[in-house]
Amino acid sequence: MNSLRPELRIIADWITPGSRVLDLGCGDGTLLAHLVHHHNVSGYGLEIDPANITTCVQKGLNVLQTDLDAGLSDFDEDSFDYVVMTEALQAMRYPDRLLKEMLRVGREGIITFPNFGHWSCRWQLLLGNMPVTPSLPAQWYNTPNIHLCTLTDFEKLCKNEHIHILERTVVDRTHESDVLMRLLPNLMGEIALYRFRKD
């Protein structure tokens, strides 16, 4: 599906067809529906917003209204091949705990987040303002993004938590990865994508 956002297309390519997927913060179910219809994936989406829940139900998805900050205690260990979370980590109250939870219930984790090390963020900070970018459109006082990080920060956390990174890609809002992004991911990448598992 070409209409799929570039980052979601990359995730879809990472996921082995026919596997079991848990999508944390699945939103309107775009990714999960794509995986179900085109990759023969089975699984569930977790979401907190009632309008999104209704949209997911409309799409025929299994969706469970859940507050991710309360953890994933409804799910048993290793019950999924992949646990996916797109652009929600930075809005979590305890991102470190949730990462561990992802690898408790899933064999592999896939995560995307807006890179706070992107040059436009750095530039705005240099000018003395909290960054407002296409990936981070909210103002400091009304942003849901309470735990922003850079690629380096995230990788440090993974190291501390014994999480093994299998794959990393950075993209911007419109294009897939270019040469500059590959050379200087923490400066040029707008959105970071990681695939990881337990060490």
């Binding site: 089975s42 569930y44 009632p50 309008a51 829940i53 209704t54 949209t55 997911c56 139900v57 409309q58 025929g60 998805l61 299994n62 969706v63 469970l64 209204q65 859940t66 409804d74 799910f75 048993d76 019950s79």
Partner: protein, 382 residues
């Protein structure tokens, strides 16, 4: 003068009664030699009989789920909010069946029906019935109506438990189960409330050990108290505050024990109105059926195992302010279904109305309910 009913109502409806002459073995070991089920239907059964939905009612409701029984009826059926043309249970698409549970007092065989041996009302001799017994009796109704497989079985509260039981007992006879404001079994607190309600009825001097019909009376005070207690558990603290606050009917205290606060007046009104429309023996039976409901019991308290054979797809809905069957109780059902990799969606609707929210037109509830039943229709047509 012909009365105009709202466009989104099924309008004037008539109940029908199905007689079953084959004995029905009950969980208690007792046996009903024959029985009647009274039911209503809305909408048209399609040619392949694949669009039928069974509605299961709650503790004190009945088979009159939608529409009006007479042009003079002030109020429509108990789930008018959700059943009718264009509503979540859309009668333009579905053939909807709702029957009064066995042991009821609205036309299905129950304590007020004549005992086959004596010809006088069963009264306290009517056997205790369980949710499983109800499901079994309804399966025969499905047979009689030519419905091999329900498109969905749907219910709220005790009715939700019935929808769950259906999926366990007849896995291939329903495609969807919608379980609303329910629980996988009652808590000790739930049972405690039921016990107080039963004691209120049984300690009424007019109860006569359940043989009050013979004395041409009813345990009015006891049944009224039971209903008042029930109503407290159906509403949330917030809903009561919003509805009544601490308003005094006469504006100032009178320092007596007559009705003074609006909430007292409401409870007494609800209690009194209930006495005229409900049978005390039925109330006792229904609360017992609730207490006994515990499908996990036969599986070492493992609900996942109890649900291992279900084939239906599930929609579970709970309401945030429901403290009778709180969202956590619904999540127990969801978790057990997840353990078995079953198809399930779960919505936790923000609502201040308490347990009664499942009867209310709350937009987020109606939207997600409709979204789900729209899917059911797709299945029915393929």
């Amino acid at each position: 003068m012909a009365r105009e009913f709202p466009d989104d109502s099924v309008g004037l409806v008539k109940s029908r009664t199905q007689h079953f002459s084959e004995p029905l073995e009950l969980d208690s070991g007792a046996c009903l030699p024959h029985y009647d089920l009274i039911y209503e239907t809305y909408g048209e059964l399609n040619a392949t009989h694949s669009n039928a939905i069974l509605i299961c009612h709650a503790l004190s409701s009945d088979h009159h789920a939608a529409g009006y029984n007479s042009p003079d009826d002030r109020k429509p059926g108990w789930w008018e909010v959700c059943i009718g043309p264009g509503k979540p249970i859309d009668t333009n698409r579905f053939f909807v069946v709702c029957s009064n549970n066995l042991g009821g007092c609205k036309g299905s065989t129950g304590p007020m029906s004549p005992h086959p041996e004596t010809g006088t009302p069963y009264g306290p001799d009517f056997p205790i019935v369980t949710v499983r017994d109800w499901v079994r009796s309804q399966a025969r109704l499905a047979d009689a109506l030519g419905i091999q497989q329900w498109a969905a079985v749907i219910g709220g509260s005790l009715g939700g438990m019935q929808a769950l039981q259906w999926a366990m007992d007849f896995p291939d006879r329903l495609r969807h189960s919608v379980v609303i404001a329910a629980a996988p079994r009652l808590s000790a607190q739930n049972i405690a409330f039921n016990e107080v309600a039963r004691q209120a009825i049984m300690s009424d001097p007019e109860f006569f050990n359940g043989r009050f019909y013979e004395h041409d009376t009813i345990p009015r005070r006891g049944l009224m108290l039971a209903r008042m207690l029930g109503h407290i558990t159906y509403l949330s603290d917030d809903a009561m505050r919003a509805k009544f606050g601490r308003e005094l009917r006469e504006g100032k205290p009178r320092f007596g024990f007559d009705v003074e606060f609006e909430v007292e007046s409401y409870l007494r009104y609800q209690g009194k109105a209930f006495v005229d429309r409900f049978d005390a023996n039925t109330y006792l039976l229904m609360t017992k059926a609730l207490d006994y409901f515990d499908p996990a019991k036969d599986f070492e308290d493992d609900l996942s195992r109890a649900l291992a054979n279900v084939q239906a797809r599930f929609m579970v809905i709970a309401f945030t302010s429901d403290w009778r069957f709180a969202p956590d109780r619904s999540r127990e059902i969801v978790k057990a279904l997840l353990d078995g990799d079953k198809e399930v969606s779960y919505a936790e609707v923000v609502a201040h109305q308490g347990h009664d929210a499942f009867l209310m037109p709350i937009p987020n509830y109606i939207n997600v309910f409709s979204a789900y039943t729209n899917l059911i229709n797709v299945d029915a047509e393929t």
